[in-house]
Point group: C2
Chain length 283, copies 2
């Protein structure tokens, strides 16, 4: 696989940084993650906007413009020729003179094959657990996943697929995904504050506009436990139904009708984008 | 400067990791930092004990034993021949297959020259600001300094030297140091919970035992503001008096008598260790 480091495309095994980089020394770097389908990058402008926003919030200034990084992404995607892939962008705190003060950032871009959850997994729904925690600087996508990774052991012990964060009874998000519920009255609700604004979340809210009763607001943990449906959204999962929250079965424990319909709408939207891009390529 | 990566001593500029390491991808690594004086490593067993404890808490298993890493530290210290130095140990989450699951850790050891705060700085005291925050997994020394580094801009704007974390009016610590106060009644107090147990803090508590009235307990922010003396302790600072907390001047704003006496006791203890080690070397 080809990667990109600072100014150059390199073989991934040669993509290295000196260990003095602030990402390695202090976990200080902004991050983002986008996806390709049929070798077409999806929602690339949305992801780049967020990546630049996270960098600015961390006082990091990329050497390249948004347009330049977009071109690097297209070129990388051409080189690697993966049908379904994930692309990571990391902008680090750089080689700091005192291992604390951010310096000139290092930019890393990596691409890898991915596989979205298969229909069986979607239909079966997954179990999640809950944990009291609030991510630092929640609107910034940084490389700080200390808590998420630390909780992996507990997740496995509980035979769960993921962990939902809450704080003072208010639900926020998963380490790498947003949460939605469908109330017994049929309203779709997703938390509005103290979250990372997921691109899948945003695209889904656009698709639902004027078609579903939707509320972006504070969401209580009790509402999640009593919901008709619960699902998560993320770049690598699109929509993934949740059949169990801790010991509580949600609905019949399987994918509900709203999640199923929304997933279809989302896949249709992706296909629309891919078809349009392929038509442009042929012309 | 010579560094150590996994099994080998290398020139620092050649000390690199592939960008797929979990430290870089997800800020997941345990960390520690010790100091040499007159080319003698100080309190090395205490630091290694904490380093191994942090690693275990993060479910990371070093390839080397404590004794082996100690020998590497001695050898590195011999090679670099620095009088006053800091040594960083980082044990990363390794090259994870999915950029999330910890793998076989990478061990990095770096040494650099340091200078402790000069007497003028000690005597003048520093200004600090306060910020509501609780570190994740506080008893683990990890590379997660996202909040500390993010706050550097605010610290500079306020012409301060550091930031003291508190949560619900309870004081915990600085991003890289512990906090002590001396009450107007002459009792030395330091927080007991939700902190990283500093080695300087621990050594100082040992030195004070049976000589000073000392309390390890919850400490309120108001007590800090109303203290006769406030100071911080850390590996790179020993003891550093604090003359101002936000807008509040502490005492006469300069180093107080207790901090001055404790610092002398701490330096004496260091000299004792260094003299003993040098005697052993000569014999």
């Amino acid at each position: 696989m080809i990667a990109f480091v600072n100014q150059h495309f390199v073989e991934e095994k040669n993509a290295v940084l000196q260990v003095g980089d602030l990402a390695l020394q202090r976990g200080y770097a902004s991050f983002d993650y986008l996806r390709s389908r049929n070798n077409i990058l999806l929602f690339v402008d949305d992801y780049l906007k967020r990546f630049f926003n996270s960098a600015a919030m961390l006082h990091l200034q990329p050497k390249q413009t948004k347009e330049e990084i977009k071109n690097i992404l297209y070129e990388l995607n051409e080189k690697n020729k993966l049908a379904e892939s994930g692309i990571r962008l990391i902008l680090t705190g750089g080689y700091s003179f005192d291992s604390y003060e951010p310096a000139e950032p290092n930019l890393i871009i990596l691409q890898q094959k991915i596989q979205l959850p298969p229909p069986e997994k979607f239909n079966a729904g997954v179990k999640i657990i809950t944990h009291e925690y609030q991510r630092d600087l929640p609107e910034v996508k940084s490389i700080n996943y200390l808590m998420g990774i630390w909780l992996q052991q507990k997740i496995k012990e509980q035979k769960a697929a993921d962990v939902l964060y809450y704080n003072n009874d208010l639900v926020s998000e998963f380490p790498r995904a947003n949460v939605f519920i469908v109330t017994k009255q049929g309203t779709v609700v997703t938390p509005s504050e103290n979250i990372l604004r997921g691109i899948t979340r945003m695209q889904l809210l656009k698709l639902m506009k004027d078609k579903f009763p939707v509320e972006e607001r504070t969401l209580y943990l009790d509402e999640v436990r009593c919901a008709a449906e619960v699902f998560m959204t993320s770049t690598t999962k699109r929509i993934l139904p949740i059949g169990q929250v801790d010991d509580k079965i949600i609905g019949d424990g399987k994918a509900g009708p709203v999640a199923t319909l929304l997933n279809k709408m989302f896949v249709d939207r992706e296909e629309q984008i891919v078809n349009k891009a392929e038509t442009v390529k042929i012309i």
